[in-house]
Structure formats: C-alpha cells, structure tokens
C-alpha cells in the first residue's frame, strides 16, 4: 500500500522538479553553438588537420626524411623525395591519407625539421574517398605560421637545453 502511495507522490513531485531544471536552463547561456555559423575555439593542444610549415624565407621545411612515415602507427603517410633545382632534398610527393590517420601526432613529434604540425582544422569532409588523400600542395602553408604553440614549446625546450636551432 505504502509503495503505491509513494509512487503516486513521486509522479506528482518529480514532474515539477524536472520542469524546474528545464525552466532554469531557459535563462542560462546555451552550451551548443550555432554551427556552422558559429565555431567553437579549439584548445591549443587540439590535433586537427596537418599542415606543412615553411622557413621564414618561404622555402619548405620538409626534407622528406621519412621519419614521420616511420613513426606513423596508421601507416598513412607516403612520400617520395627528389632533388630540387638547388640540389637540396625536398619532397616530390608528400601525401597523408586522412581517412587512415588517427591524429595521434606522432609525425609531429618525430619531425626533426619542425615541418609538420597538426593544426586546429577539423572540418574536412567530402563526397569521395580519393579527396581525403591530402597532397603536399594542399598541406603547405602559404606563409610561415608563427603562432603554433608547439613551435614555441619546442624552441623553449631547445633554449633551455642549449640545443641550437637546426640550421641548414
């Protein structure tokens, strides 16, 4: 008998209680964003779409050494080196299959030239699988990005340990 009464009481009490929560949120700032008109600022540590950095003089940093591909657990990086007109080693082909990539960031960590970074871009979608193979041209930045937090951290570590900036 008691059980039945308590159940009936719960029904009448819990409904206003739940509605109270709902109505409370009517006056709060919403957590969702009006995507795609609004975009969420990503954490500085977010690992999104890769980009290839340039030197200050505009030349590519990547020398196609193959360490990112060697470090990649998903085996999604493919590259072929070539000799450029100045006799330097550069990538002729540099491709990342974004469908295979797990965005672990090992490539960034392995890179001895500070050439590859995982950026904050997360919106990449398309209608066919082929377009997810990102080529070097797609990933190369147009001008050096100085704002990367990792770059700053790496340089700081270098200064602390007295490791000279890699110069060619």
């Amino acid at each position: 008998m008691n059980v039945v009464l308590r159940a009936i009481g719960n029904v009448f009490w819990s409904m206003p209680k739940g509605l109270a929560v709902t109505f409370k949120h009517l006056f709060k700032k919403p957590v969702t964003l009006d995507y795609p008109h609004q975009k969420k600022p990503m954490s500085p540590r977010y690992r999104g779409l890769h980009y290839l950095e340039r030197y200050d003089d505009g030349s590519e940093r990547c020398v196609c050494c193959g360490l990112c591909a060697a470090a990649c657990p998903a085996d999604c990086i493919y590259m072929e080196p070539e000799e450029n007109e100045k006799g330097e080693r550069r990538a002729r082909i540099y491709e990342i299959n974004m469908l295979r990539c797990i965005f672990c960031g090992y490539c960034e960590e392995a890179c001895p030239e500070e050439a590859i970074f995982l950026g904050r871009e997360y919106e990449f979608s398309d209608y066919d699988r082929d377009s997810f193979i990102y080529t070097k041209v797609q990933m190369l930045v147009t001008s050096p990005r100085k704002d990367n937090p990792f770059k700053w951290i790496i340089r700081k570590v270098r200064r602390v340990y007295g490791v000279p900036e890699p110069s060619l």
């Binding site: 080196p81 100045k86 006799g87 080693r89 001895p112």
Partner: protein
Amino acid sequence: MAEAVTKKAPSNKATVTLTIDGRSVTVDKGTTVLEAARSLGIHVPTFCWHPKLKSVGSCRMCYVEIEKMPKLQVSCATEAMDGMVVATDSDLVKQGRRAVIEFILMNHPLDCPTCDQGGECQLQDLTFAHAIDDSRFAFQKERFVEDGSVSTFDDVQIGPEIMLNRNRCIQCYKCVRANKEAFGEFDLGAFERGNITEINAAPGRQVDNPFSGNLAEICPVGALTGMDWRYKIRVWLTKTVSSICPFTASGVNTLMYMDETKNRIYRTTSRRNDEIDDGWLSNVSRYAYQVVHADDRLLTPFIRRDGKQVEATWDEALDLIAKRLSDIQDQKGCVCIGGLVSPRLDNATLYGFNKLMRHVIGTNNVDYRTEYRMLPQTPEDHYQAACSQPIRISDVDDSDVIVVFGSDMLKEHPNLYLRIRKAFNFGAARIFILNPYSTKASDVAELEMVYHAGMDEVALGAVCLTAVEKGIVSSDETDRLREAIAFDSASAAALACGLEPDHLELMARAMAEARKVTFLAGEIISRSREREPIAAAICNLNRLFSINTKGQFGILPGHSNSRGAHHLGLAPDPPASIKAKLRSLWGQYPDTETNTTDSMMVQMRKEEIDGLIIMGANPVMLYPDRAFARESLEKLDFLVVSDLFETETTELADVVLPLSSWAEYTGDYVNLEGRVQTASKAIHPIGDSRPGYAIVEAIADRLENTLYTAEDYRRDEIDTMLEVDTACPVPNLYVPSKGGQDEDDAEYPIALMIGDDPHHRGHYTEKSASLTSHVGEAYLELSPDLAAGHEIKEGDSVRIESPVGKVVLPARISEHIRNDIVFVPRNFPSAPVTSLLMRKRRIDRVRISKVVR
C-alpha cells in the same frame, strides 16, 4: 671457466692463446685482437677497419682494455700476444668509445634527415648505442662549402656515380685505402690535415674507376653516397633479396634492395663471399640492376604480319611457333631447325632449351657460344681439356706465381683481377702477364710481355723452349716438344712473337721454382679462330711445368653460366658422359649432324636450316662478322627471338617473345669454378615477360610434348646433369700447337682488338643509366705514336676501315696500347664494330684515318 675455441690453423704457423672477455681463444700469430674477438663472435664496433684492407687504427672506435697496458688499445692494430687478457666491454672501454664518438660528432653535421645513409649509418647506430644525446662543443662546426654553391647542402659530385659530402666525413680513410690497396686506383685522395682534412677526387680527375661504386658502399657515414640511390627511398622501406651478378663469370654475390609494392629494385650491394668476391663489386655487377628497369623493355610478344611486327598475345605467338615449327619438321625434317641460347641464362632455361631442341624437336643444332668465330663441328679436345680444368678463385690468393695469358682480366673477370691485385699486395705473388696488348693489371705485374697479335701459341712455345734450353726444367721429350711447337730454338720463337729472351727466361724460372702456380687464360684465346692450337700450347706448358699438380690452370669461361651450359649439354657435340646421361634421362638422343653457331649460319645460307629459336643471344651484334650473321638470319623462313630488349636480332624475327631478366625469377647459375649459386626472385616479371624456362616449356607444350611430367622433375634432372663428371683429361704427350696465320695485307696494317669496355659487358649493360654515365659511347683506343702518325688528337673522329666495313668513332689515346694495335669496345649498338670483322680471319686488320670536317 674458460672455453677453448681453436681456430683451424695450418700446422706450420705459430699460434698464440689469449683470453677475451673471460673466454680463451687460440689464433695464428700475427692476428689482431679485433680478429681474435670476432672469431669468438664478440662484436667490437669499428669505423675504419675493413676485413679486406690493412689496419690503420685511425678511428679509435675499437678500443679494448688489455691487462698490464696502461691505456686503452685499438684492437684492430694490436697484435694478439700469448697470455693477453682482454676486456671488450668494461666501463673504461665504454667511456673511451663514448669519448671517441663525441669527438667524431664534434664536426659531424646532424643532417641525418637529408642524408641518404640515414638508417644504415654506423655512426648513427653507435651514437644511439652509446646513448649520446647532447654535445659539449658549443662552437661552430667546420663546414666545407663549394665555391659558387647556391645550395644549403654541401654535396659535390666527384664522379659519375659518386656524391661527396665532406662535412660528414669522419676521416676513416676506408675509401682511399680500398681504392689504393684493393683496386689499384688513385683517383681519390685525402687532402689537408687536422680539422680541415678532406677526402676529394684527385685534382682534375673524376672518381670513375670500374670499382668506384664500392666506395659509396663501404663509407660508414654519408660522406660518399651513390647517385643511383640518391634521394630514392629510405633503406628501411626496402627488402633485400640475395642474387647473383649475371654479367660476370665468377658469379659475384649481390644483394638487391627492392620495394615490393612498387615492384622495383633500387640498388645492389655486395653480399660478401670470401670464396668469390671478397665483398667487392665491379660497377657492372653493381649497376646491372638498372637493365631490369630500362624503359624500352619488351613487354608483349610481337608477331610479324605483312612484313611488320605487331603486338600479339602469348597464345597467338606460341600457336604460331608450334604451327611453323611442326610445318618445317613435316616438310624438311627436324634437322632444319636450330637453336641458339645465351650462356647468361639460368640452368632451368638452358636445360629446358636443350630438352626442347634435342628431345622434343630432335635436332643437334644447339649452341650457346654465339660470340666465337669458326667453331668446328667436331669438339676441340685440347680446348675442352683446358676449359674443364678445376679452378678455385680463392686459390689465386696464395699462389706465388700467377700467369695471365690472353685475357684482359679487368674487362673479363673484374673480381679475379682484384684477386690478382690482392695476391700481389697482401701475398707474395709474382705476376706475369702475356697479352697481345697491354692491360690494366700491368702495374702489379713483375713482367708484362706483349707479343704480336696472333702469336699466342708461339709465345707459350717460346716460354717452353727457353725453359728447356736454359735447363730450367728437364724434359725427356725435348725433341717432341720442339716438333710440337714447330720452332727449332727459343730465340727464333721469341723473335717471331716479339718477346725478349731475358723476359722469357725470368718467367720460365719463376714458374719452375714456384710452389703454387695459377695460370689463367681468357677470352682473347677463346675468341681466336686458332683456339685449339693455343689450347694445345697451354697443355704443353702445363705438362712441362706440371702446373696442374702444383696449382691450377685453365681457360676461363666468358659468361655467368658458360660452365652450366657446358654441363647441361648445350654444346652441339657434348662430351660422351653428358650424352650418355641425357640418353638415360630422356630415353633417346638424336644422332643427327652436330652444328655449331658457325656451321648453322653456313647452313642457313644454303637454306638447309629454315627455323631458328634464339634465346637471350644477339648474334647479329656480337658474332664476329656482322654482315655474315645478318645475311644468314635473313635467309631463315622462321625465326623466333626471345630477349629483354629490341635488338638487331629481334628486328629480323618473325616472333619476338619478351624474356624476363635474372631478377624476375629464381634461377641457378654455375660460376667459373663450377659452383652452383642461386639468384632469387626479386620482383615480378615486368610487363608480359616470362622466364626463359617457362617459355621453352610452353613451346614444348604446344608441340604436344610436355618437358616435365611433374614440377620436381625439372630440378631433379638438372641436379643429375650437374653431377656428371665432364672433366676432359689433359693430354699426356706434347701435342702439336702450330696455329695457322692470315696472309699479310699491306693495305690494312693495324690489328683490331674487340672486347668489352671495363664498364660494360655484352649487349645489355648499355641500357643501364649508371654505366652509360661512365662510358656512354664507343671509342677507338690507340697509342700516342699511332695517333701522332695520323695527326689524331684525343676526341677526334677517326674512320676505321676493314675490307668489309667502315666505322667512325672518337679517338681515345692510351699510353698502354702498342703501336700496331687498336682497341674498340663492342657494347654499343650505335657503333656496329663487328661489321669490321671477318669470321675466317685470325686477327682482323684495319686502317685508320682522321675524319676531316
């Protein structure tokens, strides 16, 4: 508890016993501590030490601690002594090695990401092994910058295939030492001292010697890297496959680096085999892999329709072959079909070809010697005897007299050439060279005797007669010997062949006194029309000096599987033991007429042979009478040619079949010692090409006569054949050795020698980009005097005329060559030099003149 390991040592050598890391070892006196440790399987890291070079102890990496010695010792330069107690892994040793690496890294740029050696660099490995992750040197590293360089990379190309980066050099001097000690080349040297020591090409020179590829291979760091491997692929992405060089008769062991997904070979390195190659590869062996990936490989079969070759499928091609061959068989009989095969193909192909021709078709028109002139139909006994003598390459090392006769060792057997150099540099060998022209090996020779071209057997006869006349050796049958040589006195013979009597006496005395003699004859003999009398002269020399009882002698085969071809019965009239074995395997053996390449061509002209199958050979280009070979093949009703490339011979063919190269299937090859070695399959066949054995088996299938009823039988039959003893006995008497001579022709005074360029061999290597970057076109090599007489300067176009042909080539003046001789390489299709030759001549004679523009 000490475990005694005894290295097998000759009893006459003193031994010492020492303890290394608590284990006792007994080694020969004179062994270094490093080698003693290696014999125990203890790894001592090194940079500058190389097993085949003298120790210098310049890198200090092989530090060991030896009791009662105050400081660490370099083990590669410390002789093992009785009772030594050595520690190779103590804390002091580790500290010492750490310091050495830190010191080496002082000036070594950390440009591993851009360095081609990355992943296989000894400095990288040892740095990791010693956990060195920081540097105490804060100052600027020494950097070599090339004048006018726009690159931030300091690479300099010092040879067609060698890239130098002096910043990375750790001054181990391995390259310079190998160049000097092993190859006898001086195009690379060390300059300056101390911090700015640099390795560089000798002033005004290029590093382009025939062994230059080894320098990049032995460099422990990325200072010398190969151009063919430059920026292609990382070493950890490749798979290695063990293979055999198909261009050298010694069967040099190689390792191919290939990528499975791309079906591509990226480079070849050596696979050290002390019995054969000592870990050195000639450039031909090293860069031969590029032939596999040449752009103009044949990819599909071609059939001639209405006078034009058009693409076809394998079924169409094989059906046509079967139909035409059975037509010829029905109309004119099986003797009207012949077969020529290249001795560079593997055992399965050669044996299958033999079975196809002899068992399925039933003809004796089979030959593998397509480059020799005037081969008689009956076998040449003395030549066969001299060819089938047992030879061991490693026995060259401890011979005390080495005689090279009629062979340009560098061009024919580069690894034997290195062995001879080694016997001179590291052993106590006295080397005598008897050749119609001066060769590269002359700098290690005690005597180089250059006889008149075409006087080969007279030169050997002169040696024999000198030995008898001077009482150097006693012979019971002196008169018979004189009769055999057909000269009365040594001086007459010496005069005839143009040799100094003193030289002959010196050589005869050396051979008589020697404990162990190695006598090697080569292609100049085999290619000669008079090979039988020359072989008889070799047998006479052998009998007089009893070479075969105190050493080895023989005529070396020319190609990678010549011995295999002989063993498998590819000769038109093989030795009786082979015939008997083939008969027992097949149940029958044809008893038709036996025809060599030469007599087959004669019969083709008479239209007695109508159908011909050629595999891998290119008689039109390499047979020593181009017009004759071409006209003969044109007379054929039906010609099938299987080759890697479109050649002069495939142009004439009715059916062209694409052949797979040696890297595309697993095959066995018999080297010049008779050693059977395997070249493993590295990549899948390119295009629609098929391995040789598959082609012959497919043809046999279409002729409704399957070669092997089960897959295993092929291997079993070949193994049975290789076990047959084919050694021919050396004649026990002095045999007549008088060879015929040509009539003199005053119009054509200069003898012409045709051979291979040191960077090429046969008709394939021209397709290798690295080899053509060394030598890319044919040339005429002539002496300075001869050039001056015709007012020819280096590089001038010279017209070479013989009674049958004319070729224009650039001149190359060489100090080595005699005045009455010129040399032309035969490897380049653009210069058809065999069109100057006449097959019935012993020595081809030409006249030269400058082309005036």
